[in-house]
């Protein structure tokens, strides 16, 4: 008898619906799984047969053929255990009561019949929803995540006996059921699941003492989505400021949260007690990170999202920038410019958008005190070797280059509290509103930091007086055209923060002061 149930599989950062067909026919007893499946999917039938045996239901000695459609895409992972189990059951007991023809099944089986969580549930659930399914069966641990779907009915089970009960299939060893809990739960998809602990923001800009300059730079970076580079001695608060930036970005919309959670789900980074990522992420990969870890790589036929994707909508912080491997940093050049990563792995193309805020930090020299020569003992050669770690193209993509002063204990003790994150976030929200209005008909540009040359010319128009002022500065500082555009972009954001439609000289003057690091860093070149 032939049966058919639905499941889903991950492809890149998206999912597609898979129909699992199980046929049981006469012939030599054997089982076979078809449809471009990996070893982990082939194992599924073994787990299913042993789980059945342990419940007192034997798999009859027949020829069992399992086909996963579409057959051309590679399928991987253990999430097909549950649909294969269900399909086999229906093939063996065609007369049983099964009202869930339009339901998807996602889960891994243990030999004792336990249903275990799998990764990538959210994208798969959304794919099922899109395909017009009615509901989905998942393990208890995946329940919260699956409930993000608005239309699907989510049924979670922790043991296959619950499924057997639902289908009214009698089985032998009832006494084996232990610690199963409340049985299957069917819940409404309300918000209460998703809204975990709302105000868990322990990191506040209030705690940053005596770094008003750095905080101001962080505010501008957050408001206009500009890449930011901090340079300063150890202990001056570079990491402290960077960690607080996600907290001043506007709250994420439901759509954004879903997009982000999908990526975390595929990367198996979603904590099971959380159904949805609520806070903007802060990712700080170690300086030994490889190119694949940054951009995303392949592992057993599956795309593993890189740090770039995991930091989406939040902050990607590269601490000690000069210590990163050159090829890892250079690999970021394209994504920073294109706002998109395209990977070509195992004859397949994967592409995902890059929408994180780049924040990097570095010491100016190995000891960190340069240019204070009474404290810095580094030789020019050492300083040069250290700063060679950063390439000019990367530096040029950093809109804000900010050097932080060192903070003495006395400064920290006597200074008043800084501005709180809530106040800063309000300012960021205001500035971002201005930008939304400005770029509403643009396709690729969302924030000031995304502007290309055409957009800069269009949106950062200067008055006559301002243009003359810029010309003077341009001559004095010997600026490149790229730097000139960077300054205009920054000035636009500074004006947005004050809700001014026109860029004035004050904005330009401030914007000019946030560059200059590149000139120093490369002054040793001769």
């Amino acid at each position: 008898m032939l049966s058919k149930v639905y499941s889903a599989a991950i492809h890149g950062l998206n999912a597609y619906v898979v129909s699992v067909q199980v046929d049981e026919s006469n012939g030599l007893p054997r089982s076979m799984t078809l449809g471009n499946v990996s070893a982990s999917v082939k194992e599924a039938i073994e787990r299913v047969s042993i789980a059945l045996k342990n419940l007192g239901l034997e798999l009859p000695p027949k020829k069992i053929t399992i086909n996963l459609q579409p057959a051309d895409l590679r399928k991987n992972g253990s999430s097909f255990d549950l649909p294969i189990f269900m399909g086999t059951l229906l093939a063996l007991y065609p007369s049983c009561d099964f009202p869930y023809e339009n339901y998807g099944f996602l889960g891994e089986l243990g030999l004792d019949g336990e249903i275990r969580p799998v990764s990538g549930v959210l994208p798969m659930v959304l794919a099922l929803e899109e395909a017009g399914m009615e509901g989905v069966f998942v393990s208890k641990d995946n329940e919260r995540e699956a409930r993000n779907s608005e239309k699907l009915k989510v049924i979670s089970c922790s043991h296959i006996t619950e499924l057997l009960d639902i289908c009214k299939i009698p089985y032998g060893k009832k006494e084996k059921r232990k610690n199963i809990g409340a049985g299957p739960s069917v819940g409404s998809n309300d918000e209460s699941y998703a809204n975990g602990n709302e105000e868990d923001q322990n990191l506040d800009f209030q705690d940053v003492l005596g770094q008003s300059y750095g905080v101001r730079a962080a505010l501008i970076a957050a408001a206009g989505h500009h890449a930011l580079l901090f340079s300063g001695p150890a202990g001056s608060g570079k990491t402290m400021i960077a960690k607080r930036i996600p907290g001043i970005l506007p709250k994420m919309s439901k759509q954004e949260k879903l997009e982000l959670t999908k990526i975390y789900s595929i990367a198996s980074c979603l904590p099971s007690e959380k159904g949805l990522i609520e806070k903007r992420p802060f990712r700080a990969p170690h300086s030994a990170v490889s190119q694949n870890t940054l951009l995303g790589g392949m592992s057993s036929g599956r795309l593993i999202p890189g740090e770039l994707a995991l930091a989406g909508k939040g902050v990607l912080f590269l601490d000690e920038l000069p210590l990163f491997k050159k090829e890892s940093i250079e690999a970021l050049r394209g994504p920073m410019e294109e706002k998109r990563v395209t990977l070509h792995r195992l004859q397949q193309f994967f592409s995902y958008p890059v929408d994180c805020l780049f924040v990097a930090a570095m010491n100016p020299c190995p000891c960190g005190y340069f240019p204070d020569r009474n404290r810095c003992h580094c030789t020019p050669g050492q300083i040069r070797a250290y700063q060679r770690g950063i390439s000019k193209p990367i530096l040029e993509r950093m809109d804000l280059c900010v050097s932080l002063p060192s903070i003495t204990l006395q400064d920290a003790l006597t200074k008043e509290k800084g501005i709180s994150s809530a106040v800063l976030r309000k300012q960021v929200e205001k500035a971002r509103k201005m930008q939304e209005r400005r770029f509403f008909q643009e396709e690729k540009i969302r924030w000031n930091g995304d502007m290309n040359v055409r957009a800069v010319n269009e949106y950062c128009e200067l008055g006559k007086e301002e243009a003359e002022y810029m010309e003077n500065i341009f001559k004095l500082k010997n600026l490149s055209m790229r730097t000139y555009h960077k300054i205009l972009k920054l000035a636009r954001t500074i004006a947005d923060l004050e809700e001014e439609e026109k860029i004035n000289m004050n904005h330009l003057a401030e914007a000019v002061s946030y560059r200059g690091l590149e000139e120093v860093l490369f002054s040793f070149e001769g």
């Binding site: 100016p364 030789t379 020019p380 900010v402 004050n506 000019v512």
Partner: protein, 300 residues
Amino acid sequence: MEKKNIELSIRELLPFQEDFPKRLSEIPDSPECLYLKGFLPKEGEHTVGIIGARDGTEYGKDIARSIAKTLAKKGIGIVSGMAYGIDSAAHEGALEGKGKTYAVLGCGVNICYPSCNFRLYENIEKNGGILSEYPLHSPPLPHHFVERNRLISGLSDVILVVEAKEKSGTFITVDRALEQGKQVFAVPGRIVDRLSQGCNRLIREGASVCTSAEDILSYFSLEAEKEESKEDEIKNFPKEKRRIYLALGYESKHFQSLQEELKLPNYMLHRYLIELEVEGYCECVQAAYYRRKNRNSYFN
């Protein structure tokens, strides 16, 4: 072919030759052979050796640069070692003052060491001379620098130490200079500054104090040109701008410390700092670090 060309511009001087510098044949331990690119100071030309730490402060380099410039304008040749820091600043100052400057190297004259001074190297060759007692292609070995120091003092009539640590190679040059009977000047500094401790020690031990280029000029019985004072221009600044200018020091200050000191609004500080920079009263050393800049000379 190219190698030959390089060597053509280099002259080899032996002690019995007429153009072998007298100053160097008179010193104890006189070199057996000299390699020269460019030319050497004439007999009777005043020369001052300006030496100091490689990791000199911005202030120290500024002093070296401005004194060298003033002296070079008066036709005094500036001798130094083309190392990082004070040495390079002294050469640069002399070139700015359109004067002559001479570099004594611790490697072959065809090697530019440190290599990032290649522009300076080319300019010194045109406006003075590059000198070494080591054959062409000799690598810059540590003991070479110790030995070449006696040539720096030998070529100079006066040695000026701008910045030196408590333990410094500069003292080798000073010792050689004293052996050769040259006058030693030192620029005094604050007693707490690491890079001024060497200079202060020299003064304690009897070196002459140099607080301006005039001190050295008067040693040669020369008079300094009167430079225009900037006082008047500064007086005409708007009040805030003057306050900012006066708050700027010769060591770079961070924007934030200026802001805390002056309690001016951010935008005003940004505006005036850029204005001062455009007008040449201050410079941005590194992003957000500002310092006062002299347009003409340090001491007015």
